[in-house]
Symmetry: C2
DNA sequence: ATCACTGCAAAGTCTTTGCAACGAC
DNA sequence: GTCGTTGCAAAGACTTTGCAGTGAT
């Protein structure tokens, strides 16, 4: 079993919650897909797979995953809200292609310097961040050449 | 007159639009406040100042300002949508204090390197970005010490 | 048996749109 | 006078909540 699911079971147990079919399904699907999903996406994926769950339950479960420290909410520049896996993941940022809307994860080697800069310039003690870079992915550059 | 308002007039003229009381009011208030306002904020500010405008008009005008290149939409991590002045502004990023929710603008000296890194690592040609750093501002650090 | 969970539908928020009256040109 | 604009209210997208029935322990 995925270590994330164990964490979830522990969270459920410790909080007097219950281990239900829906929660397991939603969590499994979410983890499986690697995050970057909206509630609607998850709902569609589950129902397409023949698993009947209500949209409200998806929302509720995602919120629970956030509380359990397994997921995080992300508001993307297009205004969409997506959830992302955070368990054991190194902090990372996102490249978003304006052509195909794909999302690429990227590590930011300048983070520490950036945080230090924020402190040096404004006395701001950084604890987290969110970076999205928009542009054209390598695929779409290739595609554009042949269009 | 603010150069931004001239740009707006030019945009309006060039597109067969009309120069109305509401547009001028909304744009003036928006520019005055330096951006970082939600539509609702602007609406409230205008009505508090005794200027009667409809909320829908605020939304419509903000959209127009974006088209005119004077404003940009920002989706902040708390899920709020705010508009920001962009005319003649150097590209900048944001520090957001999790205590007092103040927003500090900051320049990012690592941008070029970051863009180059995105290209080197993923062949991604960056055209823009959005960075928000969360943490505690200097004021709140001081405040926390005395609480 | 208890008490949390689910699904649905209703209610909320935020934003956009339709429409008749209005105002700029 | 024409045609874009406004304000309102209705409609939409997305998310949350109330409630009665269901299911885990």
């Amino acid at each position: 079993m995925r270590p994330e699911l164990q964490i979830l079971e522990q969270y459920v147990a410790e909080n007097g919650l219950k281990r239900t079919r829906q929660r397991t399904l939603i969590a499994a699907q979410f983890l499986e897909s690697g995050g970057h999903l909206s509630a609607e996406d998850l709902y569609a994926a589950l129902n397409a797979a023949g698993h009947r769950v209500g949209l409200a339950t998806v929302y509720r479960t995602l919120k629970m995953l956030v509380d359990a420290g397994l997921a995080q909410v992300r508001h993307f520049p297009d205004g969409a809200t997506r959830y992302e896996c955070v368990y054991g993941e190194p902090a990372h940022d996102h490249l978003i292609c304006v052509e195909c809307h794909c999302i690429i994860e990227i590590e930011n080697p300048f983070l520490d310097q950036l945080y230090q800069h924020a402190f040096a310039a404004h006395g701001f003690v950084a604890s987290g961040h969110r970076l999205v870079i928009t542009g054209i992915c390598s695929n779409c550059q290739a595609g554009a050449a042949s269009n």
